[in-house]
């Protein structure tokens, strides 16, 4: 099917939520990588999912609006996903790259509304490393409505991701989740934060399609 797009409000900013496949039951929510946007059609690797398949354009990406003067943080963009949870209820998340990082954070922050999260490769999976990178502070011209927002690329490729910080969110998920293996790592690339997550005793590793099937 051609994707159907609706717009959700996060504050005064419009977010594009695409329905790639209609259906009944708990949706599978796809979160794209840094500088990316939602796929036009349902990816083949989601075929094991029988319910609806949704995809969200993060703030400053795809068809979502661009805020004035940046200020992007992964923690701030959790509220993008939370806007979907507020209207659609519980979902299972597949996050690619930067979307994997936000997917983990929001799974830990909204444990009753995220029924499993799959962490997969994609743009922005590394972030700024375990410690802040060498400071680079620059003021960019106002970017208007063009996506991806240059400030998103600048700020979200430099956010530090200490492994113990990632593990806090793993603990939040594992302490509350009613399913046996709520966090699945399918990514091959393993920055320090993701290596620590994958090594946690409560986290399992599966190929992407099997990971999605495990939550179907």
């Amino acid at each position: 099917m051609t994707r159907r797009t609706e717009f959700l409000l996060n504050g005064s900013l419009r977010l594009a939520l695409h329905t790639l496949t209609e259906g009944e039951g708990r949706p599978l929510l796809l979160l794209h990588g840094l500088g990316e946007e939602s796929p036009r059609t349902r990816p083949a690797w989601t075929n094991a999912w029988n319910g609806p398949v949704l995809a969200l354009d993060f703030t400053g990406h795809g068809e979502s609006e661009v805020p004035v003067s940046g200020g992007y943080t992964p923690e701030g963009l959790m509220s993008d996903v939370d806007a979907v949870l507020a209207t659609r209820g519980p979902v299972t998340i597949v996050g690619r790259g930067f979307g994997a990082w936000v997917g983990l954070l929001v799974a830990g922050a909204r444990t009753s509304l995220v029924h499993g999260v799959v962490l997969f490769d994609g743009s922005g999976i590394v972030g700024g490393g375990s410690q802040p990178p060498t400071p680079y502070v620059n003021v960019l011209p106002a970017s208007g409505s063009l996506t991806p927002d240059p400030y998103a690329l600048l700020e979200l490729s430099r956010d530090p991701r200490p492994p113990d910080y990632a593990l806090d969110y793993v603990r939040f998920v594992l302490e509350d989740s009613e399913i046996e293996n709520p966090i699945v790592v399918s990514a091959r690339i393993r920055p320090e934060w993701l290596a620590a997550v994958a090594a946690d005793i409560g986290v399992i590793e599966l190929p992407l399609e099997q990971a999605i099937e495990s939550f179907a």
């Binding site: 504050g11 805020p67 943080t73 923690e75 959790m78 430099r158």
Partner: protein, 308 residues
């Protein structure tokens, strides 16, 4: 609760001599200035949940000694625009935009609390912006939360996350609660327990707006204390050691001031840059420049004397 009395006086407080604004990639930041326009410049950066008019006593003292003091409101604070997104890095960038709009030459930078910590990060990446740096109780250490174990820290982080997301969900309906001048001052007192009620009531009249229902703080209601993400104090301290310009750090030693960063002399001294000066006062609270304005102004002016 309409109120006809909309002004308060405070000894030594003086409204800015000039006001203006700065553009930071389309976001308007409100700017205030005290002193002669052609005097040497010192830029002052306020802390979290403050605004530039909190310098209304301190800035005139510095200006009267022959300096042009420039201060701006952080995004979402005071008279600056509210933003969709907030973050430490965005504030740091806003400071860069402000400083570059003020002068193309190095100037003196002074930051209090969060503003001091952010200037520390900015100067690590852009040392040529400053010819001297004064940091007023904005030097974090690993002892900023000494009594919190890992389990408690996680519980606090989790509670903060949930409340932050709930607040964002209700963003469209959020407003600051209206009150009288006295009421707003009383509600701020727990954050500023060592500051006088007279000062806090004055602050209401310059940091809040009056409408048909009363006074409301101007700060964006979506903002709340905390929310630094994975930020670690040690990251900023490493930046301190690398500073190349003359440096004065002033620490408050009052350990139970709720807004204080609780760093002690021994926490910071190993990270001082060459020639750096560090002062520690165990009887002055976190808002040093408000609580002991004349004393701190003289300390800063003495430090700056060779730069006049």
């Amino acid at each position: 609760m309409p109120e006809t009395d909309q002004t308060r006086e405070f000894p030594g407080a003086r409204a800015p001599d000039r006001t203006g604004s700065i553009d930071s990639s389309g976001l308007r930041l409100a700017l205030n200035e005290w002193g002669e326009p052609d005097a040497p410049v010192i830029a002052m950066v306020h802390g979290g949940f403050d605004f530039s008019r909190t310098f209304d006593v301190f800035a005139p003292m510095i200006a009267e000694a022959g300096w042009r003091v420039v201060a701006w409101d952080a995004r979402g604070h005071g008279d600056s625009d509210h933003a969709h997104l907030y973050g430490w890095a965005a504030d740091v960038r806003d400071h860069l935009a402000a400083i570059q709009s003020i002068s193309s030459e190095p100037i003196v930078l002074l930051g209090h609390s969060k503003g001091g910590g952010q200037l520390l990060d900015l100067l690590d990446g852009r040392p040529s912006l400053a010819r001297a740096f004064v940091n007023l109780d904005g030097l974090p250490s690993q002892f900023s939360s000494p009594d919190v174990n890992d389990r408690e820290r996680r519980r606090m982080r989790r509670a903060d996350l949930a409340s932050g997301l709930d607040r964002r969900r209700r963003r469209a309906e959020l407003t600051r609660r209206p009150d009288t001048i006295e009421g707003l001052a009383e509600r701020r007192q727990p954050m500023n327990p060592r500051l006088s009620r007279e000062w806090l009531e004055y602050l209401v009249t310059v940091g809040a707006r009056h409408d048909d229902e009363g006074w409301r703080w101007k700060i964006d209601p979506v903002l709340h204390l905390g929310g630094f993400g994975p930020w670690r104090p040690g990251w900023s301290l490493d930046h301190l050691a690398a500073l190349e310009m003359p440096f004065l750090g002033v620490l408050s030693g009052v350990q139970d001031d709720p807004m204080g960063w609780k760093s002690r002399r021994g926490d910071i001294e190993p990270f001082l840059p060459p020639g750096g000066q560090l002062e520690f006062y165990d009887d002055i609270g976190h808002f040093l420049h408000i609580e002991q304005t004349r004393f701190i102004a003289d300390l800063v002016l003495n430090f700056l004397e060779p730069l006049r």
